[in-house]
């Protein structure tokens, strides 16, 4: 924790109505975020990380989705209780979002400059010329070559990396307190990924904005996050400082994730260890631990009793019955 508490999510649950019954995509998730801090939410597809992020800004399509319980306290106000106009004043202004597909996150019919200027005009009530000027400045700040002349370009004239830079410029437009980046680099080339993340980190640090980085890439987490929240089956599996999670993972799922990622310090020729089995079907979660069917350490207790999130060290939480056996 580097500063005052900015965002506090408490007991957040989000459900989706489907043909096969109600699916709880996010189940009783809680986390805190300090001003200027970077929190990484990690998990595989369907673990609920994106839905968590969307729920914070109330961008869940309703119906079929519904935030069924919980609180999202941002600067002391519960975002879930605001009316439409109040939440709109927060979106893009105090909390900005970057989506995972830069190729489709920009409107193909409008110029890039117009789209970056839009939030400025919307929230700052700036005159159009000033907003456009600000957009040029923002594009310079995300180091787009030839920034000002790019204002009148259309998105199809940009590469993926350039578009994601434009998206970052758009997110930074109103100097938000919090930026939520939902897998911002998934669709990009590896070399571009590193540039974009470094840029994002640098700019958020400069603006003292907090960052929620949603990713499935543990390499990203190690370099850029202060704290990590590992999600599995819509629940928090483990949460703690990034360094601590790397050094002493206290959940079998986190351990499995790390074993499945290639490392430079690995012996040449050694095999990666995949996590056996399939991600869980959220409409049919087992009664006990959601990870138990794939877990090497599972016991009878894991099958029947759902493990609570318990403290395993300073600022380190794990939802595993056997967390004390895992530390080695």
């Amino acid at each position: 924790m580097t500063g005052a508490r900015l965002l506090s999510v408490k007991g957040l649950s989000t459900e989706f109505r489907t043909d096969r019954g109600t699916v709880r995509a996010v189940d009783d998730v809680s986390f805190d975020l300090a001003a200027g801090e970077t929190l990484a939410i990690v998990g595989e597809s369907g673990s609920g990380k994106s839905v968590t992020a969307l729920s914070v800004l109330r961008l869940i399509p309703t119906p079929p989705g519904r935030i069924s319980s919980g609180e999202v306290l941002f600067e002391g106000r519960d975002l879930l209780k605001l009316d439409e106009r109040e939440i709109r004043a927060i979106r893009g202004n105090r909390i900005a979002m970057i989506f995972q597909e830069p190729m489709s996150s920009l409107n193909p019919s409008l110029t890039v400059g117009l789209q970056i200027a839009e939030p400025v005009q919307l929230h700052r009530k700036a005159p159009w010329a000033a907003a456009l000027d600000k957009a040029g400045e923002l594009l310079e700040r995300v180091r787009l070559p030839d920034a000002r002349s790019r204002l009148s370009s259309y998105p199809h004239q940009f590469s993926g990396g350039m578009r994601q830079r434009a998206m970052i410029a758009m997110a930074l437009a109103c100097q938000p307190q919090l930026i939520i980046a939902d897998e911002p680099t998934t669709a990009l080339d590896v070399t571009v990924q590193a540039q974009i993340l470094a840029l994002l980190k640098e700019l958020t640090r400069a603006a003292n904005s907090a960052l929620i980085l949603i990713t499935h890439d543990l390499g990203v987490v190690a370099r850029y996050a202060d704290r990590v929240c590992v999600m599995y089956g819509g629940r928090v599996a483990e949460m703690g400082p990034a360094r601590e999670i790397y050094a002493h993972p206290r959940h079998p799922y986190t351990i499995g994730l790390m074993a499945s990622v290639p490392r430079l310090d690995q012996e040449a020729g050694s095999r990666l260890v995949p996590i056996e089995g399939q991600p869980p079907d959220l409409s049919r979660l087992p009664p006990g631990c959601a990870f138990q069917p794939r877990c090497r350490f599972a016991t009878e207790r894991c099958r029947v009793e759902r493990p609570p999130l318990v403290s395993t060290g300073p600022d380190h939480l794990s939802a595993c019955h056997h967390h004390d056996r895992l530390g080695a």
């Binding site: 709109r88 900005a96 996150s105 409107n107 839009e118 000002r148 002349s149 259309y154 758009m170």
Partner: protein, 297 residues
């Protein structure tokens, strides 16, 4: 904005929008250019019919009845000795007015219903679409005949009825386009920047459904001219002596087809050529207005 001038060579050369458009139209879309030329001629004839027509549209000359096309009467004369060329020009005027205004009305109705219903979805969409279903279940002609017989024929009623008729049906096309556009990430992104509903509809949905809307409009111009001709044919259009193409086709054109085939050929060919030209022009327009195709060649 001085820095912009310095770096201008990096971007595509910016020419005047209309000129640029015309150059691309004639270079890339010869058929569309043909349609464009015909449309311009048609508009020109419609607008300046009073000046261009050598005779009045209702000026009869009994001695020159049923003259075949020739030097004096380019398109011949009808059974009352009226000059067909003049009547075609005045007919173009009526067709321009009816075609453009009814198609414009239809497009506006389609866009409003389609965009709102498609974007909001849910129960609202359900109710609206069931109403559209019900409306479309009636044959067009039945609605037209019923309404015209109630309110009486005339240009105003015909425009409004045709506009509503095609507008409500066409909303299905716009709605379909909106359904696919609203799932795009940039719509979610716009929501996440705090844009209001009208703003999202206006700036993010509408520009991206313009391609089908333009095609819808141009096909509607053609359809409206055809429908008006059909109504006139049944005697429910703009009442005579107003020289509508449909009216000419059904009146003297049909009655005197054997004595003077040009009476049917002239209005018939005009309808065919204009409707075809509008359609191909609309196609070209859709392609050229797509920003993804700008500067691609």
């Amino acid at each position: 904005m001085t820095s912009l001038a310095h770096t201008a060579p990096a971007a595509a050369p910016v020419r005047s929008g209309l000129w640029n458009f015309l150059v691309r139209l004639f270079r890339d879309k010869p058929l569309g250019a043909f349609g464009f030329v015909v449309c311009v001629v048609f508009l020109f004839c419609g607008l300046f019919a009073d000046l261009l027509a050598p005779y009045g549209f209702n000026q009869i000359s009994p001695i020159n009845r049923l003259k075949p096309p020739g030097e004096k009467y380019w398109f011949g004369t009808d059974n009352l000795g009226r000059d067909m060329f003049s009547r075609i020009l005045y007919g173009a005027q009526l067709s321009v007015i009816i075609g453009l205004s009814a198609a414009a009305l239809a497009t506006v109705v389609s866009v409003v219903i389609g965009v709102v219903s498609g974007y909001l979805g849910g129960k609202f969409d359900m109710v609206v679409q069931r109403f559209v279903d019900g409306w479309m279940a009636f044959p067009d002609l039945v609605i037209l005949i019923v309404v015209v017989s109630v309110v009486g024929p005339g240009m105003g009623p015909v425009i409004v009825i045709l506009g509503l008729l095609y507008g409500i049906g066409g909303s299905r096309i716009v709605r379909g386009a909106v359904l696919s556009v609203r799932e795009n990430a940039y719509v979610h992104a716009a929501q996440s920047t705090g844009a209001s509903l009208p703003r999202i509809l206006w700036k993010h949905i509408l520009p991206n459904v313009m391609a089908p809307v333009i095609v819808l409009f141009t096909t509607r111009v053609g359809a409206v001219i055809l429908a008006e001709s059909g109504l006139a044919f049944l005697g429910l259009g703009v009442p005579p002596p107003a020289p509508t193409w449909g009216g000419m086709l059904s009146g003297s054109g049909r009655a005197f087809m054997y004595q003077g085939p040009w009476l049917a050929l002239a209005p018939g060919l005009c309808i065919t050529i204009v409707v075809y030209a509008i359609n191909v022009f609309g196609d070209a327009l859709r392609d050229l207005l797509d920003p993804r195709m700008r500067g691609s060649r």
